[in-house]
Assembly symmetry: C2
Homo-oligomer: 208 residues x 2
Amino acid sequence: MQQDSARRSNRDRTEATRADLIAAARKLFTEKSYAETGTPEIVAAAGVTRGALYHHFADKQALFAAVVEQEAAAVAEEIEHASPPSLFARDALIAGSDAYLAAMRAPGRTRLLLLDGPAVLGRAAMDEIDNRHGNRSLREGLVAAMRAQTMTRLPAEALTALFAAAFDRAALAIEAGASAEDYRAVLMALIEGLSPAPPQAPRPVRTR
Amino acid sequence: MQQDSARRSNRDRTEATRADLIAAARKLFTEKSYAETGTPEIVAAAGVTRGALYHHFADKQALFAAVVEQEAAAVAEEIEHASPPSLFARDALIAGSDAYLAAMRAPGRTRLLLLDGPAVLGRAAMDEIDNRHGNRSLREGLVAAMRAQTMTRLPAEALTALFAAAFDRAALAIEAGASAEDYRAVLMALIEGLSPAPPQAPRPVRTR
DNA sequence: CAGATAACATACAGTCTGTATGCAAATTTG
DNA sequence: CAAATTTGCATACAGACTGTATGTTATCTG
C-alpha cells in the first residue's frame, strides 16, 4: 500500500525524470538566459538533485541541447499545423512565414533559439537542428517556388539559410517592439523579388 | 634614473591599462568563446590583476562590450576603406558586401560579433552598436539604391536589418566551410530582386 | 534470490565572479 | 610645498556554480 510510486519500471523512471528536467530547464531557460540559469535552480524546479541531472545528461550544455531540440520541434510542428501543405508554392511560403513569426512570439523562444542556442551550441549544431525540423519545410517551399514560378535558380542551401536568417532577425526585431508589418512587408518583397513571374519582364540576373 | 616608468600621468596609466585589457580580452575572446574565457586569464595576458579590471570595467560584460565595440569599428573601417563611396549605388552595395564578407574572415570575428555578442549583450545592444558603425553604410547604400533605381519602396529600418542578418549568416556559413560563391550569388540575387530596373546587359550568369 | 546494474542523492574539489580592503602614486588644496 | 584627497591597482575574501567521486537504494538478470 505504500508501494504506489515504487512500482515504476526503470525505463519509466528515466523517461519521467528526463522529461521533468527538460521541462524545468525549458521554463527557466525561456524566462532567463542560459548563463543566468544554474543547475541547482533547474533540479530544484524539477524536484530532483543534481545527481540525477548529471546521470542523464553529460553536462549543462547537453540538457540545453535537449531543450533546444524540443523547442525547435515545437516550432516546426506549429508551422506545419498552421499552414496546410496543399497550396500554391508561394502561398504556402507566405503562410509558413506568418506561422513562423507567430510561433516565435512565445515568450523566451527567440532568446532560446536565436541567441543562446547559436552561442552555446554553435551555429553548426543549430543548423543541424534547424535542418532536421523547421528549415526543411522552408527549403522545400523555396525550391518549389523556384521550380514552379521559374524563380531565379539559386543554390538551395544558401538560399534557405539566408532566408532563415532573415526570418530569425525579423522575429527578434518584432519581439523587440519593431513594426511587424514593416518586417513582414520586407520579407514578402524579398520573396517576391526572387519570383519575377507576375510581370513577364525580362529579368536579367547579374551576379558578377 | 629609476623613475622612468613612474613618470606617467594618471590619465596615461588609465588609458594604457584599459587598452592592454581590451587587447588581451580581444585576443582571448576571438580564440575561445566568451564563456570559456575567464577574467584571471585575461588579466594575466594583460599583465595586471583582476583589481585593475574591476577598477576600469563594471564587470566582465562591460569589458566584452568594449571589445565588441572596437571590433565592430574595425570592421566598419575595413569596409569603408575597401569600398570608395563615389560609385553608383548598386556597385557601392556590392563592393561593400564583398568587403564585409572579407572583413568577417578575420579569425574569431564571427563568433565574437555574431554569436557571443548578441547572446551576451542582447540583440538590442548589438543593433545599437551596429547602427553606430557598419550598418550605417549598408542602410545608406540600400536607401540610395532604392532611390536611384526605383527599388521597391520599403521601410528602411527593416530592410537594413534583414539584409544585415543575411550578410551575417552568410559570413557564418562561409567560415563554416560553405561555398562563398553560392552565398554571394544569393545575396546578389536578393539585392537584384529588389531593383526591378534591369541594368543594361541582361546576361544570365550560371550561379551554380 | 543472489549478483550486477541502473537511478539516483550526497559530498567534495576546483574555478570563477564580484566586492571589500589596503597601499602607493598622483593630483588637488590651503 | 606640505597636507589632504583622490586615483590606480593589488590582495584578500565571500558566495555560487560546475563537474566528479562516492555511497545507497531500487530494479533487472541469470
